[in-house]
Amino acid sequence: MIRNLMHASPFLLFFALLVAAFAPDSAHAIPAFTRSYKVECSTCHTIFPELNEYGDAFLKNSYVFVSKVKKTAKDTEPPPAPIAKAVTIPKPVASPAAPVGASPDIQGAGDDELLRKLKNGAMTTTETAEPAQPPAPEATLSAVETPQPAGEQKSEGLLLSAIPEQLPISFTGALNIVYDNKAVNEFDFSTRAFKLHAGGHFRETVGFFATYVAYSEQPPASTGNTSVISTNNKTDLTEFFVSWRHLLDTPVNLKVGRMQPKLGLWKTNNKLSVTNNYLPYTYTVGGQSTGQQSVFRIDQTQDALELNSILGKRFFVAVGAVNRKGQNSKEGYGHVSYKFGGADYLANEPEIDLAKEESILDFLTINIGGYGYVGKNGSANSNDPKNSFYRVGLDSELLYKSLRLRLLGGYGDDDKVDTIAVNQWTRVISKSGTIEAEYALRSNLLAACRYEYLQQVASPQKQGFSDQYIRRYIATVGYNPYENLKLVAEYKYELVTSAINRLGTLGLTFGF
Protein backbone atom coordinates (compact mmCIF):
# COMPACT_ATOMS: atom_id res chain seq x y z
CA MET A 1 0.00 0.00 0.00
CA ILE A 2 1.51 3.29 -1.05
CA ARG A 3 1.70 5.83 1.65
CA ASN A 4 2.34 9.48 1.37
CA LEU A 5 5.98 10.40 1.74
CA MET A 6 5.23 14.06 2.23
CA HIS A 7 3.87 13.73 5.73
CA ALA A 8 7.16 12.77 7.27
CA SER A 9 9.36 15.33 5.67
CA PRO A 10 9.46 17.82 8.56
CA PHE A 11 10.55 15.08 10.91
CA LEU A 12 13.07 13.70 8.51
CA LEU A 13 14.51 17.11 7.80
CA PHE A 14 14.72 17.77 11.50
CA PHE A 15 16.75 14.67 12.07
CA ALA A 16 18.55 14.62 8.78
CA LEU A 17 21.69 16.17 10.20
CA LEU A 18 21.92 13.83 13.11
CA VAL A 19 23.46 10.49 12.87
CA ALA A 20 25.31 6.39 15.57
CA ALA A 21 27.19 3.29 15.72
CA PHE A 22 25.60 0.82 13.44
CA ALA A 23 24.90 -2.60 14.88
CA PRO A 24 23.25 -5.23 12.74
CA ASP A 25 20.39 -6.84 14.60
CA SER A 26 18.82 -10.19 14.25
CA ALA A 27 15.47 -10.03 12.57
CA HIS A 28 12.45 -12.17 13.05
CA ALA A 29 9.79 -10.71 10.85
CA ILE A 30 10.00 -11.38 7.22
CA PRO A 31 8.27 -10.90 3.90
CA ALA A 32 8.19 -14.66 3.44
CA PHE A 33 5.24 -14.66 5.81
CA THR A 34 3.50 -11.99 3.78
CA ARG A 35 4.02 -14.07 0.66
CA SER A 36 2.90 -17.38 2.02
CA TYR A 37 -0.04 -16.13 4.06
CA LYS A 38 -0.96 -13.34 1.64
CA VAL A 39 -1.31 -10.91 4.49
CA GLU A 40 0.01 -7.40 4.70
CA CYS A 41 2.96 -6.44 6.92
CA SER A 42 0.63 -4.47 9.21
CA THR A 43 -1.17 -7.65 10.17
CA CYS A 44 1.72 -8.34 12.51
CA HIS A 45 3.76 -5.13 12.65
CA THR A 46 3.37 -1.52 13.63
CA ILE A 47 6.28 -0.43 11.50
CA PHE A 48 8.38 -3.51 10.80
CA PRO A 49 10.15 -5.12 12.53
CA GLU A 50 8.34 -3.93 15.65
CA LEU A 51 5.50 -6.34 16.36
CA ASN A 52 1.93 -5.61 17.27
CA GLU A 53 -0.16 -7.94 19.44
CA TYR A 54 -0.90 -10.29 16.55
CA GLY A 55 2.72 -10.53 15.48
CA ASP A 56 3.62 -11.41 19.04
CA ALA A 57 0.98 -14.16 19.03
CA PHE A 58 2.32 -15.46 15.69
CA LEU A 59 5.84 -15.60 17.12
CA LYS A 60 4.68 -17.34 20.29
CA ASN A 61 2.90 -19.92 18.17
CA SER A 62 6.07 -20.78 16.20
CA TYR A 63 5.09 -18.99 12.97
CA VAL A 64 1.70 -20.62 12.63
CA PHE A 65 -1.42 -18.55 12.46
CA VAL A 66 -3.41 -19.94 15.29
CA SER A 67 -7.03 -20.88 15.03
CA LYS A 68 -9.50 -21.46 17.80
CA VAL A 69 -11.15 -24.17 15.75
CA LYS A 70 -9.56 -27.60 15.96
CA LYS A 71 -8.81 -29.69 12.91
CA THR A 72 -11.14 -32.50 12.07
CA ALA A 73 -8.23 -34.68 11.03
CA LYS A 74 -10.24 -37.17 9.08
CA ASP A 75 -8.03 -40.02 8.06
CA THR A 76 -8.93 -39.73 4.41
CA GLU A 77 -8.22 -36.04 4.21
CA PRO A 78 -4.89 -34.69 3.09
CA PRO A 79 -3.00 -32.94 5.82
CA PRO A 80 -3.90 -29.30 6.12
CA ALA A 81 -1.83 -27.09 3.92
CA PRO A 82 0.72 -25.07 5.85
CA ILE A 83 -0.96 -21.92 4.71
CA ALA A 84 -4.44 -23.25 5.15
CA LYS A 85 -4.78 -22.17 8.70
CA ALA A 86 -5.18 -18.51 9.15
CA VAL A 87 -5.30 -16.11 12.01
CA THR A 88 -7.58 -16.93 14.84
CA ILE A 89 -11.22 -17.06 14.19
CA PRO A 90 -12.20 -14.01 16.14
CA LYS A 91 -13.68 -15.03 19.40
CA PRO A 92 -17.44 -14.99 19.50
CA VAL A 93 -18.10 -12.36 22.08
CA ALA A 94 -20.98 -13.66 24.09
CA SER A 95 -22.60 -10.74 25.75
CA PRO A 96 -26.36 -11.10 25.92
CA ALA A 97 -26.84 -7.41 26.49
CA ALA A 98 -25.08 -6.56 23.28
CA PRO A 99 -27.30 -5.66 20.39
CA VAL A 100 -24.99 -7.31 17.98
CA GLY A 101 -22.97 -10.42 17.40
CA ALA A 102 -23.31 -13.68 19.27
CA SER A 103 -25.92 -14.85 16.82
CA PRO A 104 -25.34 -18.46 16.03
CA ASP A 105 -27.68 -18.61 13.05
CA ILE A 106 -25.00 -18.15 10.45
CA GLN A 107 -22.56 -21.01 10.48
CA GLY A 108 -21.10 -19.94 7.16
CA ALA A 109 -17.81 -21.32 6.14
CA GLY A 110 -17.80 -18.81 3.33
CA ASP A 111 -17.49 -19.29 -0.36
CA ASP A 112 -13.87 -20.15 -0.97
CA GLU A 113 -14.32 -20.54 -4.69
CA LEU A 114 -15.79 -17.07 -4.97
CA LEU A 115 -13.08 -15.60 -2.80
CA ARG A 116 -10.45 -17.24 -4.96
CA LYS A 117 -12.02 -15.84 -8.11
CA LEU A 118 -12.29 -12.40 -6.59
CA LYS A 119 -8.68 -12.49 -5.55
CA ASN A 120 -7.62 -13.53 -8.97
CA GLY A 121 -9.55 -10.61 -10.37
CA ALA A 122 -11.87 -12.95 -12.26
CA MET A 123 -14.96 -11.38 -10.77
CA THR A 124 -14.07 -7.76 -11.02
CA THR A 125 -14.39 -7.26 -14.71
CA THR A 126 -17.94 -5.96 -14.62
CA GLU A 127 -18.88 -2.57 -13.24
CA THR A 128 -21.49 -3.95 -10.92
CA ALA A 129 -20.63 -7.27 -9.46
CA GLU A 130 -23.66 -9.38 -8.82
CA PRO A 131 -23.74 -10.28 -5.16
CA ALA A 132 -22.42 -13.64 -4.32
CA GLN A 133 -24.22 -16.59 -2.92
CA PRO A 134 -24.61 -16.35 0.80
CA PRO A 135 -22.83 -18.93 2.87
CA ALA A 136 -24.51 -22.24 2.29
CA PRO A 137 -26.91 -22.79 5.19
CA GLU A 138 -25.99 -26.43 5.39
CA ALA A 139 -22.33 -25.63 5.75
CA THR A 140 -21.13 -27.55 8.73
CA LEU A 141 -18.53 -26.83 11.30
CA SER A 142 -16.16 -29.29 9.75
CA ALA A 143 -16.11 -27.12 6.70
CA VAL A 144 -15.06 -24.25 8.89
CA GLU A 145 -12.34 -26.37 10.29
CA THR A 146 -10.46 -26.82 7.08
CA PRO A 147 -10.48 -23.39 5.52
CA GLN A 148 -8.55 -22.69 2.37
CA PRO A 149 -7.75 -19.03 2.79
CA ALA A 150 -6.54 -17.02 -0.10
CA GLY A 151 -7.95 -19.62 -2.42
CA GLU A 152 -4.89 -21.79 -2.24
CA GLN A 153 -5.14 -25.29 -3.56
CA LYS A 154 -1.98 -27.28 -3.09
CA SER A 155 -0.80 -30.17 -5.13
CA GLU A 156 -0.83 -33.49 -3.37
CA GLY A 157 2.91 -33.81 -3.77
CA LEU A 158 3.54 -30.62 -1.86
CA LEU A 159 1.02 -31.61 0.77
CA LEU A 160 2.57 -34.99 1.33
CA SER A 161 6.10 -33.73 1.48
CA ALA A 162 5.20 -30.92 3.93
CA ILE A 163 7.18 -28.46 1.83
CA PRO A 164 5.90 -24.89 1.92
CA GLU A 165 4.53 -23.92 -1.48
CA GLN A 166 6.30 -20.58 -1.54
CA LEU A 167 10.04 -20.63 -1.02
CA PRO A 168 10.07 -19.15 2.49
CA ILE A 169 13.01 -16.85 1.97
CA SER A 170 13.29 -13.11 2.46
CA PHE A 171 15.97 -10.51 2.36
CA THR A 172 16.42 -7.46 4.51
CA GLY A 173 18.87 -4.68 4.03
CA ALA A 174 19.91 -1.61 5.97
CA LEU A 175 21.67 1.49 4.73
CA ASN A 176 22.58 3.97 7.41
CA ILE A 177 24.18 7.36 7.63
CA VAL A 178 25.88 7.69 10.95
CA TYR A 179 27.14 10.74 12.77
CA ASP A 180 29.53 10.22 15.65
CA ASN A 181 31.19 13.16 17.37
CA LYS A 182 34.06 10.90 18.51
CA ALA A 183 34.85 9.25 15.19
CA VAL A 184 37.56 10.35 12.77
CA ASN A 185 35.00 10.05 9.99
CA GLU A 186 32.26 12.04 11.70
CA PHE A 187 29.69 11.55 8.96
CA ASP A 188 29.86 7.99 7.77
CA PHE A 189 27.38 7.09 5.10
CA SER A 190 28.74 3.69 4.31
CA THR A 191 27.36 1.49 7.06
CA ARG A 192 25.20 -1.25 5.70
CA ALA A 193 24.07 -4.82 6.22
CA PHE A 194 22.32 -7.43 4.15
CA LYS A 195 20.62 -10.50 5.54
CA LEU A 196 18.75 -13.58 4.43
CA HIS A 197 15.89 -15.00 6.42
CA ALA A 198 13.92 -18.17 6.19
CA GLY A 199 10.87 -18.95 8.25
CA GLY A 200 7.67 -20.90 8.30
CA HIS A 201 6.40 -24.28 9.36
CA PHE A 202 5.97 -27.82 8.16
CA ARG A 203 2.32 -28.85 8.42
CA GLU A 204 1.90 -26.72 11.50
CA THR A 205 3.89 -29.24 13.50
CA VAL A 206 7.37 -27.86 13.15
CA GLY A 207 8.12 -24.15 12.97
CA PHE A 208 11.52 -22.99 11.73
CA PHE A 209 13.44 -19.77 11.42
CA ALA A 210 16.92 -18.77 10.26
CA THR A 211 18.79 -15.50 9.89
CA TYR A 212 21.99 -15.39 7.91
CA VAL A 213 23.97 -12.18 7.86
CA ALA A 214 25.42 -12.11 4.37
CA TYR A 215 27.18 -8.79 4.73
CA SER A 216 27.94 -6.39 7.51
CA GLU A 217 30.32 -3.50 7.23
CA GLN A 218 33.97 -3.99 8.17
CA PRO A 219 35.09 -1.63 10.93
CA PRO A 220 37.73 0.80 9.66
CA ALA A 221 41.26 -0.51 9.82
CA SER A 222 43.39 1.64 12.11
CA THR A 223 46.25 1.29 9.67
CA GLY A 224 46.03 0.95 5.94
CA ASN A 225 45.07 3.27 3.17
CA THR A 226 41.70 4.99 3.23
CA SER A 227 41.28 4.29 -0.47
CA VAL A 228 40.76 0.62 0.29
CA ILE A 229 37.04 -0.11 -0.01
CA SER A 230 35.52 -1.63 3.09
CA THR A 231 34.75 -5.30 2.73
CA ASN A 232 32.56 -7.80 4.48
CA ASN A 233 33.10 -7.80 8.20
CA LYS A 234 31.72 -11.27 8.68
CA THR A 235 28.97 -13.59 7.65
CA ASP A 236 27.09 -15.26 10.42
CA LEU A 237 24.18 -17.58 11.10
CA THR A 238 22.66 -15.61 13.93
CA GLU A 239 19.48 -17.65 14.25
CA PHE A 240 18.72 -21.17 13.16
CA PHE A 241 16.17 -23.17 15.05
CA VAL A 242 13.19 -25.43 14.81
CA SER A 243 10.25 -25.56 17.14
CA TRP A 244 8.31 -28.77 17.55
CA ARG A 245 4.86 -27.53 18.33
CA HIS A 246 2.53 -29.18 20.84
CA LEU A 247 4.94 -31.89 21.76
CA LEU A 248 3.15 -35.26 22.09
CA ASP A 249 -0.21 -33.47 22.06
CA THR A 250 0.65 -31.38 25.09
CA PRO A 251 0.53 -27.56 25.03
CA VAL A 252 4.32 -27.54 25.24
CA ASN A 253 6.61 -26.58 22.33
CA LEU A 254 10.22 -27.71 22.10
CA LYS A 255 12.62 -25.31 20.47
CA VAL A 256 16.13 -26.40 19.48
CA GLY A 257 18.98 -24.58 17.77
CA ARG A 258 20.56 -21.17 17.76
CA MET A 259 18.11 -18.63 19.05
CA GLN A 260 17.58 -15.72 21.34
CA PRO A 261 16.51 -17.49 24.53
CA LYS A 262 13.12 -16.29 25.73
CA LEU A 263 14.12 -13.89 28.48
CA GLY A 264 12.85 -10.37 28.02
CA LEU A 265 9.50 -9.48 26.50
CA TRP A 266 11.03 -8.37 23.22
CA LYS A 267 13.46 -9.86 20.75
CA THR A 268 16.24 -7.54 19.64
CA ASN A 269 14.49 -6.16 16.60
CA ASN A 270 11.13 -5.66 18.23
CA LYS A 271 11.41 -1.90 18.60
CA LEU A 272 11.35 1.26 16.55
CA SER A 273 15.03 2.16 16.81
CA VAL A 274 17.39 0.59 14.29
CA THR A 275 20.60 1.12 16.20
CA ASN A 276 19.94 1.36 19.90
CA ASN A 277 19.11 -1.89 21.62
CA TYR A 278 17.72 -1.78 25.13
CA LEU A 279 20.54 -1.33 27.62
CA PRO A 280 19.32 -3.95 30.16
CA TYR A 281 19.46 -6.52 27.34
CA THR A 282 22.84 -5.54 25.96
CA TYR A 283 25.31 -4.53 28.60
CA THR A 284 28.35 -6.65 29.32
CA VAL A 285 30.51 -6.58 32.42
CA GLY A 286 34.00 -5.62 31.46
CA GLY A 287 37.23 -5.69 33.33
CA GLN A 288 40.27 -3.90 32.00
CA SER A 289 41.63 -7.04 30.38
CA THR A 290 39.46 -8.51 27.68
CA GLY A 291 40.20 -12.16 28.47
CA GLN A 292 38.03 -12.35 31.53
CA GLN A 293 35.24 -9.95 30.63
CA SER A 294 31.74 -11.20 31.13
CA VAL A 295 30.58 -10.76 27.55
CA PHE A 296 27.21 -12.35 28.18
CA ARG A 297 24.20 -10.33 27.02
CA ILE A 298 20.54 -11.00 27.59
CA ASP A 299 19.80 -10.59 23.87
CA GLN A 300 22.64 -12.65 22.43
CA THR A 301 21.74 -15.65 20.32
CA GLN A 302 22.71 -18.93 21.94
CA ASP A 303 22.77 -22.64 21.25
CA ALA A 304 19.83 -23.64 23.34
CA LEU A 305 17.08 -26.11 24.08
CA GLU A 306 13.88 -24.47 25.17
CA LEU A 307 10.47 -25.65 26.31
CA ASN A 308 7.72 -23.08 26.11
CA SER A 309 3.98 -23.01 26.38
CA ILE A 310 0.94 -20.78 26.29
CA LEU A 311 -1.24 -21.66 29.24
CA GLY A 312 -4.80 -20.44 29.59
CA LYS A 313 -4.34 -18.15 26.57
CA ARG A 314 -2.78 -15.32 28.57
CA PHE A 315 0.10 -16.94 30.38
CA PHE A 316 3.40 -17.75 28.69
CA VAL A 317 6.19 -19.82 30.23
CA ALA A 318 9.61 -20.77 28.90
CA VAL A 319 12.52 -22.69 30.39
CA GLY A 320 15.74 -23.57 28.67
CA ALA A 321 19.32 -24.81 28.80
CA VAL A 322 22.24 -23.26 26.95
CA ASN A 323 25.37 -24.96 25.70
CA ARG A 324 28.71 -23.19 25.33
CA LYS A 325 31.53 -24.53 23.22
CA GLY A 326 34.63 -25.19 25.29
CA GLN A 327 32.71 -25.32 28.56
CA ASN A 328 31.22 -28.37 30.20
CA SER A 329 28.70 -26.79 32.55
CA LYS A 330 25.36 -25.87 31.03
CA GLU A 331 23.45 -22.68 31.71
CA GLY A 332 19.79 -22.29 32.48
CA TYR A 333 17.03 -19.74 32.17
CA GLY A 334 13.34 -19.18 32.68
CA HIS A 335 10.68 -16.71 31.65
CA VAL A 336 7.05 -16.07 32.59
CA SER A 337 4.71 -13.45 31.20
CA TYR A 338 1.07 -12.56 31.57
CA LYS A 339 -1.17 -10.32 29.54
CA PHE A 340 -4.06 -8.28 30.90
CA GLY A 341 -6.51 -6.95 28.33
CA GLY A 342 -6.03 -6.78 24.57
CA ALA A 343 -5.87 -9.81 22.31
CA ASP A 344 -4.65 -12.93 24.11
CA TYR A 345 -1.54 -14.91 23.13
CA LEU A 346 -3.66 -16.89 20.67
CA ALA A 347 -4.76 -13.64 19.01
CA ASN A 348 -8.38 -13.82 20.15
CA GLU A 349 -9.95 -10.42 20.52
CA PRO A 350 -10.80 -9.32 24.06
CA GLU A 351 -14.40 -9.40 25.17
CA ILE A 352 -15.72 -5.91 24.82
CA ASP A 353 -19.38 -5.19 25.34
CA LEU A 354 -20.28 -2.82 22.54
CA ALA A 355 -23.53 -1.88 24.25
CA LYS A 356 -21.72 -0.32 27.18
CA GLU A 357 -20.19 3.13 27.36
CA GLU A 358 -16.60 3.43 26.22
CA SER A 359 -14.16 2.80 29.04
CA ILE A 360 -10.39 3.03 29.45
CA LEU A 361 -10.29 -0.73 29.97
CA ASP A 362 -11.60 -1.32 26.43
CA PHE A 363 -8.30 -0.04 25.08
CA LEU A 364 -5.86 -0.90 27.84
CA THR A 365 -3.42 -3.77 27.47
CA ILE A 366 -0.68 -4.61 29.94
CA ASN A 367 1.92 -7.26 29.34
CA ILE A 368 4.24 -8.19 32.20
CA GLY A 369 7.21 -10.53 32.01
CA GLY A 370 9.95 -11.68 34.33
CA TYR A 371 13.10 -13.69 33.62
CA GLY A 372 16.18 -15.16 35.15
CA TYR A 373 19.43 -16.52 33.70
CA VAL A 374 22.22 -18.41 35.45
CA GLY A 375 25.54 -19.06 33.74
CA LYS A 376 29.31 -19.18 33.76
CA ASN A 377 31.94 -17.74 31.48
CA GLY A 378 35.68 -17.52 31.18
CA SER A 379 38.52 -18.97 29.13
CA ALA A 380 37.38 -21.74 26.79
CA ASN A 381 38.66 -25.32 27.22
CA SER A 382 40.37 -24.45 30.45
CA ASN A 383 40.11 -25.35 34.11
CA ASP A 384 40.72 -21.77 35.18
CA PRO A 385 38.11 -20.54 37.61
CA LYS A 386 35.08 -19.23 35.74
CA ASN A 387 32.91 -16.24 36.41
CA SER A 388 29.53 -17.36 37.78
CA PHE A 389 26.83 -14.89 36.99
CA TYR A 390 23.12 -14.44 37.06
CA ARG A 391 20.70 -11.93 35.61
CA VAL A 392 17.12 -11.25 36.60
CA GLY A 393 14.78 -8.78 35.00
CA LEU A 394 11.26 -7.48 34.89
CA ASP A 395 9.69 -5.99 31.76
CA SER A 396 6.31 -4.52 31.13
CA GLU A 397 4.46 -2.96 28.29
CA LEU A 398 1.37 -0.83 28.40
CA LEU A 399 -0.69 -0.17 25.30
CA TYR A 400 -3.41 2.43 25.20
CA LYS A 401 -4.78 3.47 21.84
CA SER A 402 -1.84 5.05 20.01
CA LEU A 403 0.48 5.01 23.03
CA ARG A 404 2.94 2.27 23.88
CA LEU A 405 4.96 2.44 27.06
CA ARG A 406 7.79 0.04 27.81
CA LEU A 407 9.59 -0.41 31.10
CA LEU A 408 12.60 -2.65 31.59
CA GLY A 409 14.56 -3.32 34.73
CA GLY A 410 17.52 -5.63 35.17
CA TYR A 411 19.82 -6.80 37.93
CA GLY A 412 23.04 -8.70 37.38
CA ASP A 413 25.67 -10.30 39.58
CA ASP A 414 29.07 -11.46 38.29
CA ASP A 415 31.35 -12.96 40.91
CA LYS A 416 34.66 -13.15 39.08
CA VAL A 417 35.41 -10.30 36.77
CA ASP A 418 39.11 -10.07 36.13
CA THR A 419 40.57 -6.69 36.84
CA ILE A 420 44.29 -6.19 36.65
CA ALA A 421 46.02 -9.49 37.12
CA VAL A 422 44.89 -13.06 36.79
CA ASN A 423 43.01 -14.24 39.88
CA GLN A 424 42.32 -10.71 41.04
CA TRP A 425 38.62 -11.42 41.01
CA THR A 426 36.10 -8.72 41.57
CA ARG A 427 32.40 -9.17 42.09
CA VAL A 428 30.35 -6.70 40.08
CA ILE A 429 26.71 -5.79 40.58
CA SER A 430 24.92 -4.29 37.58
CA LYS A 431 21.64 -2.41 37.74
CA SER A 432 19.93 -1.23 34.60
CA GLY A 433 16.65 0.24 33.52
CA THR A 434 14.85 1.63 30.49
CA ILE A 435 11.69 3.61 30.03
CA GLU A 436 10.42 4.21 26.53
CA ALA A 437 7.28 5.90 25.28
CA GLU A 438 6.19 5.43 21.70
CA TYR A 439 3.34 7.20 20.03
CA ALA A 440 1.71 6.45 16.69
CA LEU A 441 1.19 9.86 15.12
CA ARG A 442 -0.25 8.05 12.12
CA SER A 443 -0.34 4.34 11.49
CA ASN A 444 2.83 4.73 9.41
CA LEU A 445 4.57 7.40 11.47
CA LEU A 446 5.82 6.59 14.97
CA ALA A 447 7.84 8.64 17.41
CA ALA A 448 9.59 7.35 20.49
CA CYS A 449 11.70 8.73 23.29
CA ARG A 450 13.71 6.71 25.72
CA TYR A 451 15.72 7.13 28.87
CA GLU A 452 17.99 4.36 30.09
CA TYR A 453 20.71 3.87 32.61
CA LEU A 454 23.30 1.38 33.71
CA GLN A 455 25.29 1.29 36.88
CA GLN A 456 28.06 -1.24 37.50
CA VAL A 457 29.70 -1.24 40.88
CA ALA A 458 32.40 -3.51 42.29
CA SER A 459 31.27 -5.22 45.45
CA PRO A 460 32.23 -5.55 48.23
CA GLN A 461 35.55 -3.87 47.61
CA LYS A 462 37.19 -2.56 44.48
CA GLN A 463 40.25 -4.26 43.09
CA GLY A 464 41.10 -2.00 40.24
CA PHE A 465 37.64 -2.14 38.72
CA SER A 466 36.40 1.29 37.80
CA ASP A 467 32.67 1.64 38.36
CA GLN A 468 30.63 2.32 35.26
CA TYR A 469 27.75 4.71 34.81
CA ILE A 470 25.81 5.21 31.61
CA ARG A 471 22.85 7.50 31.00
CA ARG A 472 21.21 7.63 27.60
CA TYR A 473 18.56 9.83 26.10
CA ILE A 474 17.30 8.62 22.74
CA ALA A 475 14.75 10.11 20.36
CA THR A 476 13.53 8.15 17.34
CA VAL A 477 11.13 8.85 14.50
CA GLY A 478 10.17 6.05 12.15
CA TYR A 479 8.25 6.40 8.93
CA ASN A 480 6.85 3.74 6.64
CA PRO A 481 6.22 5.09 3.12
CA TYR A 482 5.64 1.51 1.99
CA GLU A 483 4.94 -1.25 4.44
CA ASN A 484 8.24 -2.96 3.57
CA LEU A 485 10.38 0.16 3.69
CA LYS A 486 11.27 2.06 6.81
CA LEU A 487 13.01 5.37 7.27
CA VAL A 488 14.32 6.13 10.71
CA ALA A 489 15.96 9.19 12.19
CA GLU A 490 17.37 8.93 15.66
CA TYR A 491 19.56 10.81 18.04
CA LYS A 492 21.33 9.52 21.10
CA TYR A 493 22.84 11.66 23.81
CA GLU A 494 24.94 9.44 26.04
CA LEU A 495 26.74 10.21 29.26
CA VAL A 496 29.31 7.57 30.10
CA THR A 497 31.64 7.59 33.08
CA SER A 498 34.11 10.05 31.63
CA ALA A 499 32.69 11.27 28.34
CA ILE A 500 29.68 12.54 26.46
CA ASN A 501 28.73 10.88 23.20
CA ARG A 502 26.45 12.36 20.60
CA LEU A 503 25.33 9.93 17.98
CA GLY A 504 22.84 10.30 15.20
CA THR A 505 21.53 7.89 12.60
CA LEU A 506 19.52 8.27 9.49
CA GLY A 507 18.60 4.79 8.45
CA LEU A 508 16.82 3.08 5.62
CA THR A 509 15.71 -0.51 6.18
CA PHE A 510 13.75 -2.62 3.77
CA GLY A 511 12.65 -6.16 3.24
CA PHE A 512 11.46 -8.14 0.26
Binding site: P92, G101, D111, D112, P134, D362, A440
Partner: protein, 120 residues
Protein backbone atom coordinates in the same frame (compact mmCIF):
# COMPACT_ATOMS: atom_id res chain seq x y z
CA UNK B 1 -42.26 -29.90 -20.64
CA UNK B 2 -44.43 -29.14 -17.65
CA UNK B 3 -41.57 -29.94 -15.40
CA UNK B 4 -39.21 -27.72 -17.33
CA UNK B 5 -41.53 -24.72 -17.20
CA UNK B 6 -42.00 -25.30 -13.49
CA UNK B 7 -38.26 -25.31 -13.04
CA UNK B 8 -37.88 -22.14 -15.08
CA UNK B 9 -40.59 -20.46 -13.04
CA UNK B 10 -38.90 -21.54 -9.84
CA UNK B 11 -35.56 -20.20 -11.00
CA UNK B 12 -37.15 -16.88 -11.94
CA UNK B 13 -38.88 -16.60 -8.58
CA UNK B 14 -35.70 -17.40 -6.70
CA UNK B 15 -33.60 -15.01 -8.75
CA UNK B 16 -36.10 -12.17 -8.40
CA UNK B 17 -36.48 -12.64 -4.67
CA UNK B 18 -32.72 -12.84 -4.28
CA UNK B 19 -32.05 -9.70 -6.25
CA UNK B 20 -34.63 -7.90 -4.14
CA UNK B 21 -33.26 -9.07 -0.86
CA UNK B 22 -29.60 -8.75 -1.48
CA UNK B 23 -27.45 -5.73 -1.07
CA UNK B 24 -25.85 -4.91 -4.39
CA UNK B 25 -22.30 -3.80 -4.85
CA UNK B 26 -20.92 -1.08 -7.03
CA UNK B 27 -17.58 -0.33 -8.58
CA UNK B 28 -14.54 -2.50 -8.47
CA UNK B 29 -11.10 -2.57 -6.99
CA UNK B 30 -10.43 0.44 -4.82
CA UNK B 31 -13.83 1.93 -5.63
CA UNK B 32 -15.84 -1.12 -4.68
CA UNK B 33 -18.59 -0.52 -2.15
CA UNK B 34 -22.15 -1.55 -1.37
CA UNK B 35 -24.69 0.13 -3.62
CA UNK B 36 -26.34 2.89 -1.58
CA UNK B 37 -29.58 2.43 -3.54
CA UNK B 38 -30.07 -1.07 -2.24
CA UNK B 39 -29.60 -0.05 1.39
CA UNK B 40 -32.58 0.54 3.64
CA UNK B 41 -33.09 4.26 4.37
CA UNK B 42 -32.55 3.92 8.14
CA UNK B 43 -29.11 2.41 7.60
CA UNK B 44 -27.87 5.02 5.16
CA UNK B 45 -26.23 7.30 7.78
CA UNK B 46 -24.27 4.33 9.13
CA UNK B 47 -23.37 3.22 5.61
CA UNK B 48 -22.01 6.71 4.96
CA UNK B 49 -20.14 6.66 8.25
CA UNK B 50 -18.57 3.33 7.36
CA UNK B 51 -17.65 4.55 3.90
CA UNK B 52 -15.62 7.31 5.55
CA UNK B 53 -14.20 5.57 8.62
CA UNK B 54 -13.22 2.25 7.15
CA UNK B 55 -11.19 3.57 4.22
CA UNK B 56 -8.51 5.12 6.33
CA UNK B 57 -6.16 2.17 6.17
CA UNK B 58 -7.59 0.06 3.37
CA UNK B 59 -10.32 0.16 0.75
CA UNK B 60 -13.95 -0.84 1.17
CA UNK B 61 -13.28 -3.73 -1.19
CA UNK B 62 -11.96 -5.68 1.76
CA UNK B 63 -15.20 -5.28 3.67
CA UNK B 64 -17.44 -5.91 0.65
CA UNK B 65 -15.59 -9.08 -0.29
CA UNK B 66 -15.76 -10.32 3.29
CA UNK B 67 -19.51 -9.82 3.40
CA UNK B 68 -20.19 -11.18 -0.07
CA UNK B 69 -18.06 -14.27 0.23
CA UNK B 70 -18.47 -14.95 3.94
CA UNK B 71 -14.69 -15.07 4.24
CA UNK B 72 -12.32 -12.37 5.43
CA UNK B 73 -10.11 -11.79 2.39
CA UNK B 74 -6.78 -11.33 4.13
CA UNK B 75 -6.76 -14.18 6.57
CA UNK B 76 -9.45 -16.34 5.00
CA UNK B 77 -11.37 -16.67 8.23
CA UNK B 78 -15.16 -17.06 8.20
CA UNK B 79 -16.93 -13.73 8.19
CA UNK B 80 -20.19 -14.25 10.04
CA UNK B 81 -21.93 -12.23 12.75
CA UNK B 82 -19.56 -13.26 15.47
CA UNK B 83 -16.65 -12.40 13.24
CA UNK B 84 -18.16 -9.04 12.32
CA UNK B 85 -18.21 -8.09 15.97
CA UNK B 86 -14.70 -9.36 16.60
CA UNK B 87 -13.31 -7.59 13.53
CA UNK B 88 -15.17 -4.46 14.63
CA UNK B 89 -13.42 -4.61 17.98
CA UNK B 90 -10.11 -5.31 16.29
CA UNK B 91 -10.43 -2.31 13.98
CA UNK B 92 -11.58 -0.11 16.86
CA UNK B 93 -8.56 -1.01 18.95
CA UNK B 94 -6.04 -0.26 16.22
CA UNK B 95 -3.84 2.75 16.95
CA UNK B 96 -5.16 5.73 15.05
CA UNK B 97 -8.42 4.05 14.15
CA UNK B 98 -10.20 7.38 14.70
CA UNK B 99 -13.36 5.59 15.73
CA UNK B 100 -15.27 5.37 18.96
CA UNK B 101 -17.27 2.54 20.41
CA UNK B 102 -20.60 3.98 19.35
CA UNK B 103 -19.50 4.24 15.74
CA UNK B 104 -18.23 0.67 15.73
CA UNK B 105 -21.44 -0.54 17.31
CA UNK B 106 -23.46 1.12 14.53
CA UNK B 107 -21.20 -0.29 11.82
CA UNK B 108 -21.43 -3.78 13.32
CA UNK B 109 -25.23 -3.54 13.40
CA UNK B 110 -25.16 -2.36 9.79
CA UNK B 111 -22.90 -5.19 8.63
CA UNK B 112 -25.17 -7.67 10.41
CA UNK B 113 -28.08 -6.21 8.49
CA UNK B 114 -26.18 -6.69 5.22
CA UNK B 115 -25.37 -10.28 6.16
CA UNK B 116 -29.05 -10.86 6.98
CA UNK B 117 -30.18 -9.36 3.70
CA UNK B 118 -27.80 -11.58 1.80
CA UNK B 119 -29.15 -14.58 3.67
CA UNK B 120 -32.70 -13.95 2.42
Amino acid sequence: MKRLSLLVALIIIVTVSLSEARIKTKGRGEKMNFDADSIQESFKPTFNLMSVKCIKCHTMERVVIAVQTGRAPITGQPFNKQAVKAYGIKMLRKPNSDMDKKEIRDIVVFLNYVLDENQK
